[in-house]
Every structure is written in C-alpha cells, then in structure tokens.
Amino acid sequence: MDTRDETGHKPGSSFEDALKKYREGMQIILEGAKADTGQTPKEVIWTKNKAKLYHYQPATPVTYPVPILLVYALINRPYVLDLMPGNSLVEFLVGKGFNVYMLDWGTPGDEDKNLSFDNYVLDYIPQAVKKMLRNAHAGEFTLLGYCMGGTMSAMYAALFPGKPLKNLILLTAPIGFTADDMGLFGLWTSEKYFDPDLLADAYGNVPGEVIDSGNRMLKPVTNYVGTYVTMWDRILQNKPMDTWLAMSKWVNDGVPFPGAAFKQWIREFYQQNKLVKGEIKLRGQMVNLTNITCPVLNIAGTKDHICTPPQAEATMRLISSQDKEFYVIDAGHVGLLTGSNARKDLWPKIWRWLEPRSQ
C-alpha cells in the first residue's frame, strides 16, 4: 500500500525526518530549552525571604555524621549542582551516604535591591547553618561553596571560625581579583570603563540577561554560535539531547543580581581587590581570611575564564589552615562540575577528601 501523503512524501522518509528535526531545533531556539532538572528528592526545611534551604532525602542510610551545606552564587540557579539523574553532584554525594543540604537564594524582587553581602553572609548563611544543624542533629558541618558562593563561604568561614564549621570546600571560588589574573574581566570591570552604580541604579536589580551577556562575551563565538552548531549537530546526528538541553536551560535561566550586592561585588572585589587585602567589611566586621583554620579543599579549572586558577589559588596564601589542598582540574567553569569528566575527577575527589574528615 502506498502511504505517501498529499505532498508526495512517505511518513518517516528523510524529508519528513529532516522537517521534524528542523522543527525541533527551531522550537528550542524560539522557546528555549526545556528539561527536567534538579530531580534528586528534596524537601524545603527553611525559608527566608526568597531563599530556601533544601534537605536532600537520603537514598541510602547516612553514613557520615557531618552534613554538607552547598552554597551557590547569587546569579544563576543552583540546580546545576543537581542537573539531572546520573549527572548530579548532589545525587552522587547523597548516594555515598552524605547528608546534603543546599541553600537556594531564589529570585530577588525589586524589594530586594538593597540586599548586600552583609545580609547574605551575616544573616542568611548563619541562620541556614543553624536550621541545618538542628535538622541533622549535628554539631559540625562541611561548607561547600561554588563560584561566588565559594567567595561567600570563605567570608563566612573567616567571620565564624571554629565550631560548627568543620571543613570548607571551595569550587572555582574567586578570592584574588588582580587585574592581570582576570583576563578580559579585568579590563571590562576596570574603574576606568565600568561604573557599577550606573547599571544598579538604572535597573534596581541587574537583570540576569545582562550578567549572562557579560559571561558569554568572554567567548562570544563559542557561546553565541558554537552552542547552536552543537545543537543542530546533535539533532541531525540523532545524538542524545538531554544534557545539552539541561545545560542550555541553566545557562539561559539567570537570576537578577541585587543592586547593592552587585555594586559591592564589582567595586570592592573586582575593582579594589579588597578581600585579599583584608579590607572587606561586612556590617562593620572585618573579613580576615587568615582566621580560617579548618581543613580546606580548594578546586580550580584550567580552562575556567570566569574564575581563573590564580584567582582561586589566592586563597592558599591567605588562610591559616594546616590541612589545605589546591586541586586543579583540566576543565572549564561549568564543565568541571558536570559530565563524564566530573564523574571521573571532581566528584570522587570531593568524596575521598571528605570521607576521613566527616566522621
């Protein structure tokens, strides 16, 4: 029986297949990538303003009494740490018997434009720690900060040294902001060319798209063209799209940067490099990184252009910890965290480092 349709094409023919693929690609371009992310079972145990504290439900009995608190950056969503089943740091840690918690900053509204690092480091993180310890019936915890969340975690560790903080893990956390170490960011954020007040005062909260554009412009050809070349290639070659969709969704899912925090971040960190000089003050309290004495694992990526290895390495010169390690992975800012390389390198590294320190 002839199954050609009125246009003369057989269902499943190469023409129809090509059309279907074209439609699929165009749908992604026009509507954005859709993917089920952050699927590890969790419950919200505390909220504050827009922030939420998640407790991931243990898949196996908890074997390590010291819980882990994950702190992400204020920009972008934290589900990159729990991207999708089989490609999730959270799922990995939970599977190894850790009690895992994550602080999700949420999406700030216009009313949050005055929130600064003073609020986040002195109010939000300590309260989340208190709730977590109470929930976990624990007296100590491990703090794992990623990207800007790592910078915030280091500041917390400096301001609240000793118990209950037992271990500190910094993942691609920029601490040093010397212009020569920052690549293009050093030039773009220099005082000569960039006044953060302009954007913050105009927008209130600086939109995620603006922040995202800045990050993408570090590698414009790869980010604006290469991403879609990869997409079409995967579609046309019938390769799995799950990971690409999840990553694309995450990349385009930025959150606004509260105006006051944005000003602080650009001016005091990027332009004045105050953190390494010990000149950052949060609500009058001096942030002195030499106060950090707990065990520290500091991780950087050789291809990371958002937090370059020297920016992360600056931590090692400042902290007073005897037990400290700087570990470099041959990956980029996000590639370090997800994918097959992360499964082989980063995740086992964290597990092996934490195992003896979480008893």
């Binding site: 504050k48 303003n49 509204g109 216009d110 009313e111 949050d112 434009k113 309260q127 208190k130 109470r134 293009l184 030039l187 773009w188 220099s190 000569k192 060319y193 960039f194 006044d195 302009l198 954007l199 005062d201 105009a202 927008y203 209130g204 412009m217 590698k219 414009p220 050809v221 790869t222 063209v225 290469g226 070349v229 079409w232 290639d233 046309l236």
Partner: protein
C-alpha cells in the same frame, strides 16, 4: 582599526562593496562607488543559481561545494586587492578561507548537506574567529566605545523607568515601586516572625537541656536536704551538750562557793587570775559565738 564598531563596519562594508563591484563588473575602476543594490542582486542571483543546481540534482554536490568555495575565496581575494583593507579584517578572513579550503581539500570528502559542510567550516575556523573577536573586544578602544554605550543606555533606561513611574502615578495606578514597598514591608514582617521562631527554638532547646539535667539536680537537692537534716540534728545534740555543760558549771560554782565558805581548806581552791572570766562566763561566751 577604528574604535567605533559602526565605523569599522562601514569601512569593511565599503571595501567589500567596492571589491564586489569590481569583481562583478570587471571594469577595473577602483574608484567606482559601491552599489549596495547591485551587490545584493548579484548575491541573490548566485544563491538562486546554486539552489537551482541543487534542486535539479545537477552535478556532484561535492563539486558544487568546491565551486562555491573557489568562487567565494576568489571574490574575497579580489575584494581585498581592490578596496584595500583598512581594518585588517579582510586579510584575516582571507587567510581563514584559504586555510579552510586547504583543510577541506586535503582529502576529507565534502559533505552533501549544507549543515555538515557548515559544521566542518565552523570547526575549521572557530579558533581563528575566536581569537580575532577576542583581540577586538580586548582592546582599550573597544572598551571606550562600550563604556560610552553603557552610559548612554543606562541613562536612557533610567529615564524611561522614571517616566513610566510618573505616568502610572498620574493615572493613580500602583507602580512597581509601590508594589516593591509593600513587598518590603512583608519581608520585614517575615523577618520578625523568623526572629520569634528562632527565639522559640532556642527556648525549646534550652528547656530541653534543663530537662535533661533534672535528675542530676534532683539528686543534688536530696543530698542538700539530707545534709540540712543532719545539721539540724547536730545542732540539737550540741544544745543538749551545752545544757549539760551549763548544769555542770552551775554545780561547780555551787561547789566552789561551798568550798569558799570553808576556810580550813584554801589549798584545794583554784586561784583565778584577775581579768580572766570565770569558767561559767567563758562557756556562755563560747555558746554565744556558736
């Protein structure tokens, strides 16, 4: 290289248009003004020709790609020669095209579908393009222009925002700022509830800690009570002993008085030094102290 991207684009476009006209017209008139319409029409005609050939299935697709690449490379070369290259972009573009052609012709079979060809072309040229763009966006001149653009845009956005706020305010409608103010009140209220919640938890934890200490406290209390009872009993016994001592002292006083009344026996009497209390009064003082 001009600092203004628009200026760079104009220079590039002017040079390309001039080259295109020369390549198409072949008149050798380097000063002939560019003709954008002619440029577009020629480009469109070329595309249509290639399209027709593809649709007709005329010729080997690989041969078509080769032809396209040859013609395009040739065009760019002529354009560069004719119009000069003030930006330097065209020279790099040419190098990239040559490199691509060499790579593709080195033995790799050329693909039949446009996307695969484009991908191969992208893979071959990606790094060159990235470094080229990187050089442009990493210059101070580019930053000067970007900085000015940012200032203008931010100022424009802020003005628009203020104007919108004013417009809605005049219409007696709530603005984003009004809603933000209400939201801020709610956040502050939530903060207070959080504080109360935190205090209650601390109290609960404190009470819990006291309860856990209760058995120890009760044991201590019992020990203290027992001690008090024993102390009371000791006091009673002491009082009884004192009573007996008083009785003894009274008897001794009587005895002493009787002995004083007998002059015949003075040697047995104990002489008291002047100023020292009698045994009775010393006992009374001791009792008073206790």
């Amino acid at each position: 290289m001009p600092a203004d991207p628009m200026e760079a684009w104009e220079q590039w476009y002017g040079a390309v248009s001039k080259g295109w006209s020369r390549a198409v017209n072949g008149n050798g008139n380097k000063t002939a003004p560019p003709d954008p319409l002619s440029l577009y029409q020629t480009w469109l005609k070329s595309v249509s020709t290639v399209q027709e050939q593809f649709l007709r299935g005329a010729g080997d697709p690989q041969e078509l790609w080769k032809q396209w690449l040859e013609v395009t490379t040739d065009f760019w070369r002529k354009a560069a020669e004719a119009g000069g290259d003030p930006t330097g972009l065209m020279k790099q573009w040419m190098e990239m095209m040559e490199e691509t052609r060499n790579r593709l012709f080195a033995g790799m079979p050329l693909p039949a579908d446009p996307f695969t060809f484009f991908k191969q072309w992208y893979d071959a040229t990606n790094e060159t393009w990235s470094s080229l763009v990187g050089e442009v966006i990493g210059t101070e001149k580019f930053m000067d222009v970007s900085s000015e653009f940012l200032k203008t845009y931010a100022s424009f956005y802020a003005t628009m925002r203020r104007a919108s706020e004013e417009y809605f305010r005049n219409l007696q409608l709530p603005t984003r700022s009004d809603i933000a103010r209400v939201a801020e009140l709610i956040v502050n209220l939530e903060e207070k509830v959080d504080q109360i919640d935190s205090e209650l938890e601390d109290f609960e934890d404190g009470a819990g800690s006291s309860l856990s200490q209760l058995p120890v406290a009760l044991q201590k209390l019992s020990a203290v009570e027992q001690l008090e009872q024993r102390t009371g009993s000791l006091e009673q016994r002491l009082e009884r002993v004192e009573g007996k001592l008083d009785t003894l002292l009274a008897s001794l006083d009587k005895l002493a008085a009787r002995e004083e009344a007998k002059p015949a026996a003075p040697a047995r009497r104990t002489k008291r030094k002047p100023g020292t209390p009698s045994q009775k009064s010393a006992g009374a003082a001791s009792k008073a102290e206790s």
